[in-house]
């Protein structure tokens, strides 16, 4: 079976040890977590893990089963890229003088719809939100001028299909 990109979404209780439990499931199977994001979700007191892996559907099915089995996990899903709307964010820190010396940089900022977050005497910071390849493209274009610092976030995504977590939670409680 062919490997592909999958986004795993995990709805869970906000619990200290859970990240350890979840990461152990990947570790045990030698599957690298390509990106990980933990945040609040649309439901009060429910956290959402967004995990990106590059693996086969057999494995991702298996992993999601093991994740969902954890006591504090409410529900876990996996989706292909086509089934989700997803983005990443990146910050570029660049020397301020370049903004004046290298005209091209202004074009790059415009072309990529990126925002200037701050400008200081020594440096300015650009923010870019988009797909991984868009961020990479901007990175490649800025690289020749010198990037002082670069960081990219984990993927965040929402699924195209409806996720009925609240209904599930109610159902659990009724049982």
């Amino acid at each position: 079976m062919e490997k592909q990109w999958f986004t795993i979404s995990v709805y869970s209780e906000n619990n200290v040890g859970l990240l350890n439990r979840i990461s152990g499931i990947f570790l045990k199977r030698h599957i690298n977590i390509e990106s990980l994001n933990v945040s609040k979700s649309e439901i009060d007191e429910v956290s959402k893990f967004t995990i990106v892996v590059y693996t086969t559907e057999t494995w991702v099915h298996n992993i999601v089963g093991q994740i969902e089995k954890q006591i504090e996990v409410i529900r876990a899903f996996y989706h292909t890229d086509e089934e989700t709307i997803y983005q990443e964010s990146a910050l570029f820190k660049i020397a301020s003088n370049l903004l004046f010396d290298e005209r091209q940089i202004q074009n790059i900022i415009k072309d990529h719809n990126s925002q200037i977050v701050t400008v200081a005497r020594e440096f300015f910071v650009l923010a870019k939100t988009g797909r991984r390849n868009e961020i990479n493209e901007m990175y490649e274009q800025l690289k020749p001028f010198g990037i002082m610092q670069f960081v990219r976030s984990g993927r965040i995504s929402v699924s195209k299909e409806v996720m009925q977590i609240t209904a599930l939670l109610n159902e659990f409680q009724e049982q």
């Binding site: 040890g17 350890n20 439990r21 152990g24 006591i71 939670l169 409680q173 049982q175």
Partner: protein, 577 residues
């Protein structure tokens, strides 16, 4: 949903009283119906032990000689009673010594609650004396774990621990309690846990799937059942028997499923797996419908997955959704508790006998009997075989004993030849293969079922891994019968070396001590048998004894266990020699 059954006159419920965290732990245990636990004291758990001393009329604590022994004893107790086993240890090495037992209970789905002491809250993370991150260490081998750092958490967390340990597919839970929380005073009240909102332990069976399963079963020409421990954990023995008898489907078992249906039941065709019976393995690849009930297609059961039951449609009755399509792709998954799903299936399936199909199992059994079984249990050669010892235990105990085994050749032989008339009678370390399991597990099994005969069958290797637990048997005069099948080798590894490593016997020869003298050192009656003529009498004497009894049987040094599916081979390539 299963809920914790509280004792009627429990004073803990709703009456708030100010007590220490340590005392609260005792009240939690009592409220959960615990009257027996195993453990080992130490600095960080001393306040709880102090309370155990005060409550010794209500709660028996058995001091094992090593914390690993405490976990296996708790497991043995849990496996024979179906209740939650409890083990306790201190922080640091006390806690880390629990890891093997936790891993064993996790892979064999045994309900167990382990309680460990921990350094005080303010010392956490300071590398204090006997501090270890037992939560981090035990995470992969527990169903759930939690560190309590304030007394106010105790009641809720302990209730949750017992609930989770036994709900749905059972498993081990570890609760780590910092010492300050044990000393702290607080207003205690106890409510049993009735559910955890993020956890759905028993999926509801889907009637459409049940109907589809019935249809597959009714139209199958060569249907075949393999059941596992899920039948025992789900208390579905009666349903399994009714289902098998109505449909006339030949039924085989995994090692942990043994004893759910009487060994002598005409439709019980034997054991599957690496050293299972010939027919059940070979015919897995000849059935047209495989009905897997409460089993997880372990690699020791399936052999090579690429050639496993490819010709058959497969129905999987299972409580744990994560097991569906994990190893073997199935055509129909029937989620739910096996008692419930089998109960729903029963009225929908047709009566049948499948005589011709059943005869194929009989034919294969005859072949296996001639080539293997006959020589195992009625040997004509000089040396004693493990099989004939098991047969004598069957005869002396009238097939009524609980057989507790360790890991290796003796385990495979015991599981192959021990006969059972009652469920929960085969207690062994199946998934993890933990040498050293049997002796402490037999202590727990006996204490959980004092009315039953409990025979520990152990190899000379595994016996020496937890031999110190003889101290417990002696101190408390626990009438466990211990049979060491001594071949002066690590027999199973030696067998593999013989078959697959050109007889290079690397570190498998054991120079053993005088086991009889060791047992006598613990004042346990002990005998040794080296010749066939003495075997029957000694085994009978052992079973007749109402005291602890040790029997060493010197068996043939280089016997092999057959049939055997070589590692990675297909079930149909099982070797008879």
């Amino acid at each position: 949903m299963e809920t914790v059954k509280e004792k009627e006159n429990s004073p803990q419920k709703s009456t708030a009283l100010k007590i220490t965290g340590a005392e609260a732990i005792i009240h939690c245990l009592l409220a959960e119906g615990v009257d027996l636990l195993y453990g080992y004291p130490g600095g960080a758990i001393m306040p709880v032990y102090d309370e155990l001393y005060k409550f010794q009329d209500k709660l028996t604590h058995i001091l094992t000689r090593h914390e690993q022994g405490a976990t296996h004893a708790a497991q043995g107790y849990a496996r024979v009673t179906g209740k939650v086993g409890v083990a306790m240890a201190t922080s640091g090495p006390g806690a880390t010594n629990l890891v093997t037992g936790l891993a064993d209970a996790q892979i064999d789905s045994t309900p167990m609650v382990c309680i460990t002491g921990q350094v005080p809250r303010h010392l956490l993370g300071s590398d204090a004396f006997q501090e270890t991150d037992i939560i981090g260490i035990s995470t992969p081998v527990t169903k759930w774990n939690y560190q309590i750092t304030k007394a106010s958490e105790i009641a809720e967390i302990m209730a949750k621990a017992f609930y989770i340990a036994k709900a749905g597919r059972p498993g081990p839970v570890l609760i780590d309690i910092t010492k300050n929380a044990q000393f702290e005073e607080f207003e205690f009240s106890y409510e049993p846990c009735k559910g955890v909102r993020s956890y759905n332990p028993v999926p509801k069976p889907d009637t459409k799937t049940i109907a589809a399963a019935a249809e597959l079963i009714n139209s199958a020409k060569r249907p075949y059942i393999i059941w596992g421990q899920g039948v025992i954990l789900g208390k579905a023995e009666t349903q399994l028997k009714a289902f098998v008898e109505k449909t006339g489907i030949p039924a085989a078992w995994t090692i942990l499923g043994a004893s759910a249906l009487d060994t002598d039941h005409p439709l019980n065709v034997g054991m599957v797996g690496m050293h299972g019976n010939y027919g059940p393995n070979v015919l897995t690849n000849e059935c047209d419908l495989l009905i897997a009930i409460g089993m997880r297609f372990d690699d020791r059961v399936t052999g090579n997955l690429d050639t496993y039951a490819k010709q058959a449609k497969i129905i999987h009755l299972e409580i744990d959704p994560a097991e569906i399509n994990k190893n073997v792709k199935v055509d129909l998954a029937v989620l739910g508790d096996s008692k419930e799903t089998l109960g729903l299936l029963l009225p929908l399936v047709n009566e049948n006998t499948h005589v011709a199909w059943h005869n194929e199992f009989k034919k294969k059994y005859k072949e296996e009997f001639e080539q293997v079984i006959k020589n195992d249990i009625h040997p004509t050669k000089k040396g004693l075989t493990m099989g004939e010892v098991i047969e004598e235990i069957n005869l002396a105990s009238k097939n009524k004993a609980v057989i507790v085994t360790d890991v290796g050749q003796h385990q495979m032989i015991a599981c192959r030849y021990a006969k059972f008339k009652q469920s929960k009678s085969n207690i062994t370390s199946g998934g993890l293969g933990t040498m050293g399991f049997a002796l402490p597990a037999a202590i727990g099994a006996k204490m959980g079922a004092m009315e039953r005969e409990v025979v520990a069958v152990i190899g000379d290797g595994g016996y020496q891994m937890t031999i110190q637990e003889l101290g417990v048997i002696f101190q408390h005069q626990i009438p466990v019968k211990i049979v060491v099948l001594n071949n002066d080798h690590l027999g199973m590894v030696r067998q593999w070396q013989e078959l697959f490593f050109d007889k290079r016997y690397a570190s498998t020869v054991m120079v053993n001590p005088d086991f009889v003298k060791i047992a006598e050192g613990y004042h346990i009656e002990a005998k040794r048998v080296s010749e066939r003529k003495d075997l029957k009498a000694r085994v009978q004497e052992m079973i007749a004894s109402d005291k602890p009894y040790f029997l060493e049987v010197k068996v043939e040094k280089e016997d092999n266990v057959f049939p055997m599916i070589p590692s990675g081979a297909s079930v149909s390539d099982i070797r008879l020699k």
